[in-house]
Structure formats: C-alpha cells, structure tokens
Symmetry: C2
Subunit: 398 residues, 2 copies
C-alpha cells in the first residue's frame, strides 16, 4: 500500500502518556493518531492529530474513533472490549489486539487459567469469592500470599498481601468482589519483556530488569542483571504467552525470576512502562513497534543499541494532596550526557503519580564485549547509580 | 525554572519538515510548539500544538506567534528579520538566533564578508551587480566559477555555474539582481557540521560527509570518509563560524574539503538536512538541541552513537508535473533492520521535492574500534551501499 498524506489513521482509546509517546512515534511513519480520553487536553493531545473527549468505555466516543480511524487500538485496559467489538462490527474498523484478548487479560483469573492451560509457568492460584474461600485457599497455598481483584487494578491498586490468617477478613473486605489469590513468589528479581505480534510475525524485545517499590515500577535495567540462560528462558516464556494472544500489537509481560526459573506475573496488551527504555535503548521503540504492528507494517528489529536504564518521575507530594505539577531540578537531568527526559504533560501531581521518566544510555562499546552478559551487568550497575544521581534533585514544588 | 504544563511555548516561523521534526522532539521536553506556515495543515501541523496560517514574512502572523510564545525561532530563511525584530520589541518575546544574524546570513555577500573578516576560510569571491561586473570579476577569479544571487536561493536555486566568458551574459540574466561570484572550489568532498550555541555554551556535532547531485543533498555519511585531522579542522572552522553568530540555536554549516584544507560554503541559521542523521545517530538530535538552545536549557551531548548514513526521498515524478504524493516501496525500508523512515507529510510531490528521508545506523561495536577513523570509514561505505539498496524500490506512483 503506498504511503500518502493523509495516511493511515490509528484510533487510540486512552490519551495518557502512552498515547503521547505513540504520537511521538507516529509522524515519522506518516501515521495520524486520534485519541479518546475523558480529560480535555489530555497528555497525548499536543502530540497527536486530534483528541475526542469521552470516557474510555463510552460507546459513542469509541464509535467516533472507529469512524475516523483505519484501525483501533487502546493504551489502557479500562477500554471496553464489548463496545470495541460492536464498534468494529458496525464500522468495519479492525481492533488490535483483539477485544477477546483484552477481555481475557482484564480478568486476572481468566488470564492465569488460559495461560496455565497453554503451558505458561504461573504461580499457584485459586479463585476466591468470599473470605471463606480465601481462608480455604490459603490453607493450601500457604502464607504469605497475594490477593488480587480480578478486574480493574493497576500500579498495585487492587492487590492486597495477606501475611497471616488474622489478615484474611480485612484483606478480602478491601477487595470486596470477585478475586483470586496467588501464592507468594519468593523471587530473586522481577523481569519484563515486551512481546510483539505483527502481521504473521512474532518477536520479543531484550529482557529488562524491573525494580518495584510498593508495587509501583521505579527503575528498569537492560540487560537484566541475571544469567544469559535466564534471559533466554524469559523470552521463551513470552513467546509462549504471545501464542495465546489474538490480534496484533505489543504486550508488556512482567515476570518473576525465582531459583533460576521464570514465572509469569502480569500481562498488559499495550505498550508498558517497563518498555519505555526502548525509545533510546533499541533501534525500534515499543511505541513505533506497536504502530507498525496494528497497522500491519513489517515489525522493526528489537535489537538493543546499548545498555540502558530508566527511572520514573513519580509524584513526591504529601499523601492526599493534589498540586499543580511543577517539577524542580530538571537541569540536573538535561545536563547529564546521554540522559533523556520524558515529560508526560500532566497538569496535576499527586503522590506516586507517574509524571515522566528519565532514560540513561550506556556506552555502545560496552555491549560489544557483553556477549556473555558480564560486561552488560556491570554497565547496568554503574548506569543505575548514575541515573539515581541525575534524578536525585527532582522534586515537585508548590 | 520548574518544568510544568503548559510549559514553555516556542513559536516557529515555518511549518515544513523541520517544524515537524522539531515537534517530534518537543513533547518529551514538555515544550509546546506553535508554527506559522502559509499552507493550511502544513507538514508540522500533526506534530505540534497549533498552526497559525500566514506567510513567513507576514507581520500579523509573526505577531500572533510572538504573543503566544515564550521564545520565537524560525526554520526557514525566508523569515523576515525586520518583522521579527519589531514583534520582539512589541511583545517582549526574544528571537533566537538573533534577527541580525538571520539578516547577515540571508545576504550571501554580507555573510561571506563578515566571515572572512572573522578569519573563517572562504573561497575567493566578489560582488557583482551587472554582467560587466561579472566579466571583470572572472578575469581575476578565473573560470569556472559560481554566480550566486545574494538573497533567496536554496537547494541550488539562485546558483548558476559560469564555465567560460561566453556564458557570462546568460548567467547574469538568469539571476538579474544583486549577486556575488565565487571562485569554483575543486573539492575532494563536501562536509557539513551542525554547530550549536546555547546559553553560554558552544558545541559542534560530529562531521558529516554530504553527497549532492545537481546541488541538492542526496546522502550523508557520518563519520565523514576523510582523515581525523580534516574532521578536527572542520569542527574548528565551525567553532569560528559560531563566534560570528548572535543568539542561540543550531546552525547548519556546509564546507568544502580541498587539498586537505577546509573552506566555508554556506550557513543556515536553523536545523539542516545535513543534520537529520542525528535523530538516530546521536544521543541528542539537532532538533532537540535547537529547542534546548532557544529555550535556554543546557545543551545535550553531541556524541555520536554509531556510524550513520541518511538518504533523502526526493520526488521522482516527471519535470513540471505535480502529483498527489503516494510513495510505493516503503516496506523495503521498514523491513530493513536499523533503518528509520521519516515521512514529511507533504500532500503533493514534484520533481526533486524533499518528501522524506531514511536513516540507517551501523553497529555500535564498529565505533569502538574507530578511534583512528579507519573502521568508521569502511562502516560508512557499507552502510551507504545498504541504504541505497533499501531505498531503491521507493517510487512515487500516480
């Protein structure tokens, strides 16, 4: 199909930072984006052709996207798979990844069952619909464990650790709805792999180590500081995960490494925070790759350019407060060689809100010597120190 | 100054491909762009906050930009320095680079005189205001030589080679206005360096080799396939050029290499086609650097990531025709590892119009061994072959 202007239009449900970074990747490819978001002038707005204001699950809004776009996708799991399916049928506009895949992933219990059936290694889990269910399940799985709402959680919301039998009632009351409980995985580290499904193609990006605190992603290190065997196994598991997914797009797959084994943690059917490092760290970013995939263009190489770390800029304001977002200290990041700033354009900051991120790229030469992973490890170590140092002065001011 | 949303707004006179690529670089920094261009929905429009429709030299249009922006800049030399100066005075919005520098550069005779005074090596030249002047000048400078309109030329327009005394009358008639004539430089190769002036900082990007045909840039190769000494001398000359410039921003400086010496060819007070390779090839692109410079942020490192080549996508339609722009063969580029497509979003194509470009990045490892330039040279050779191969199927179709 010839490239022309106006060219392919992609409708994106969601206009947050992921929509913004999709927009940054779209114009070089000659792709126009239209996003939908309930917040007028959402983060993506200045980087895309147009924004439709409307809720993520509002069918009239999705319908408008479907009528304007050649293909529909979503950057948030709160998109409504039923509405997407109906709009796709009514407008003839395809949806990628498939709404059925979104539906499977939205329900963590259905997701885990489906993956387990397909032979993907997952932690032990059980369905729980009441405090009694939870107590019974934990007699089998043992304490501690993680209680998870089946739907709607993200950034750790909807996840409640249960340490002892005394905590069962309170934990279930906190969720108060359909849930699942998962055996606690005593992991050495957390890993993530961006998988991608193209038009008859399947690929994975290099393995990233993810560092969480209070269940919110703080930092990534690529290559992950583990053995080449574990990294290879992680990509293998993600290839199996991709086989369960329908439609095209990138998928953020979070993993546990425990005793040298890989266990699946969570899947996101979209670009993911753990893949932001690919903008500078790989020849093709996860955002460009997602656009290539959903529009049916050939996938780009997933090759890493150099060891790369990233660190999120999170709201550091007092709990419960909402401030106009004003970040001090960015000169420290901008003056650092090979550090890249990504500001998400959010007008308000609250505690732990994701406001931006900083990527730091290592020396290309280091990769050259890193065939066995060793040099990569120490490069990651030093880079992590450096990005922490560069971002240390960042603070939101009133 | 804290980073916030809405943040710094940059007003850009011109909304072509340079404005578009500035837009792609702006959102990660939290910078909003407003561009002005006479063509509604200009190439930059989908990548920026807003476009004002108006001529490059229309003062009311520039005034609107000046009122909406924190700083004014331009991506085309057709911007009017007098209007910029008046708007700046009326609105208090600074202009970078300084209008006086734009004025100096717009007049090729004034530009060359000013640079010569500052000790920058330039080809021999003379002012010519008539065919008689031209004939007299060429008795001194010798044939062949290049007659250049003092103002308004770009992509070779306004430049007329004069091979012999018989051609003098016709050559001057083709220009028919204030002109200068320059001794023909029998160069080995053409080089280009992007220079940058920040807030109290001065830097240069690595030297690029530029390959022209019929005076239109076709390809770039970085590192340039010349000696480290010549490359160092080129950057030194560009540092001297920067000393003559006022205000902040990036400057595209085109050079001749002749007998191991460097001579200045032309300057553009803005991002330049010869610097497009920096998007993938350097840690900071010329577009990000220009935005950092004009807004007074610290400059980014100019370090190259890896050997990099680029090739322009030019209109290949019959002379005199204007087609709706539809480019066939892009799959060949997209399927090539480490090739990046940049489509400029122009709706019409005519012969030799710049419609996009393709960048191809080499292996990071190669740079590691290239301290003496030798490995880099051969890498550039192979990359050039490869980008020619990848872009060979590109053709505009009716």
């Amino acid at each position: 199909m010839p490239l022309e202007t106006p060219g392919t239009t992609v409708g994106v449900v969601g206009g947050g930072q992921l929509g913004r970074m999709l927009g940054e990747a779209a114009t070089p490819l000659g792709i126009d984006l239209v996003v939908s978001d309930p917040t007028p002038d959402a983060p993506a707005a200045p980087a895309v052709r147009d924004q439709v204001v409307g809720d993520f699950d509002d069918e009239a809004t999705i319908r408008e996207l479907g009528e304007r776009a050649d293909v529909l996708t979503y950057e948030i799991e709160l998109a409504d798979p039923d509405a997407l399916e109906r709009v796709s049928e009514a407008t003839g506009t395809p949806v990628h990844p498939a709404p059925e895949t979104l539906r499977t992933i939205q329900d963590k219990l259905v997701q885990k069952r489906r993956l387990q059936e397909a032979g993907v290694p997952v932690p032990d889990f059980q369905q729980v619909d009441s405090a009694e269910d939870l107590r019974a399940a934990l007699e089998e799985l043992g304490y501690p464990a993680m209680l998870k709402a089946r739907e709607g959680g993200y950034d750790g919301r909807g996840n409640v650790p249960v340490e002892s039998p005394e905590e069962v009632d309170e934990a279930f009351a906190a969720i108060d709805g359909p849930a699942m409980v998962e055996a606690f995985v005593d992991f050495e580290r957390e890993l993530a792999v961006m998988g991608c499904l193209g038009d008859g193609e399947r690929d994975t990006f290099p393995v990233t180590e993810t560092i969480h605190e209070a269940e919110i992603l703080r930092e990534t290190v690529s290559p992950a500081r583990t053995t080449p065997e574990v990294r290879e196994r992680a990509r293998e598991v993600v290839r199996d995960v991709l086989d369960v997914m329908d439609g095209r797009g990138v998928f953020g797959v979070e993993l546990f490494e425990a005793d040298g084994e890989i266990l699946l943690n969570e899947i996101a059917p979209r670009p993911h925070n753990s893949g932001h490092w690919t903008i500078e760290g790989c020849h093709t970013s996860q955002f460009e790759q997602h656009l290539r995939a959903v529009t049916g263009l050939p996938l780009g190489t997933t090759e890493r350019r150099a060891p790369t770390v990233s660190k999120n800029i999170l709201g550091d304001v007092p709990d419960g407060e909402r401030w106009r977002a004003r970040l001090d200290g960015v000169e420290s990041v901008l003056a650092r060689d090979r550090a890249a700033l990504h500001w998400y354009g959010k007008r308000e900051v609250y505690r732990l809100r994701k406001m931006g991120h900083v990527t730091l790229v290592g020396d290309g030469e280091t990769v050259g010597g890193a065939a066995d992973g060793t040099v990569g490890e120490s490069a990651g170590e030093a880079l992590l120190e450096e990005v922490r140092d560069a971002t240390e002065p960042l603070t939101f001011v009133e």
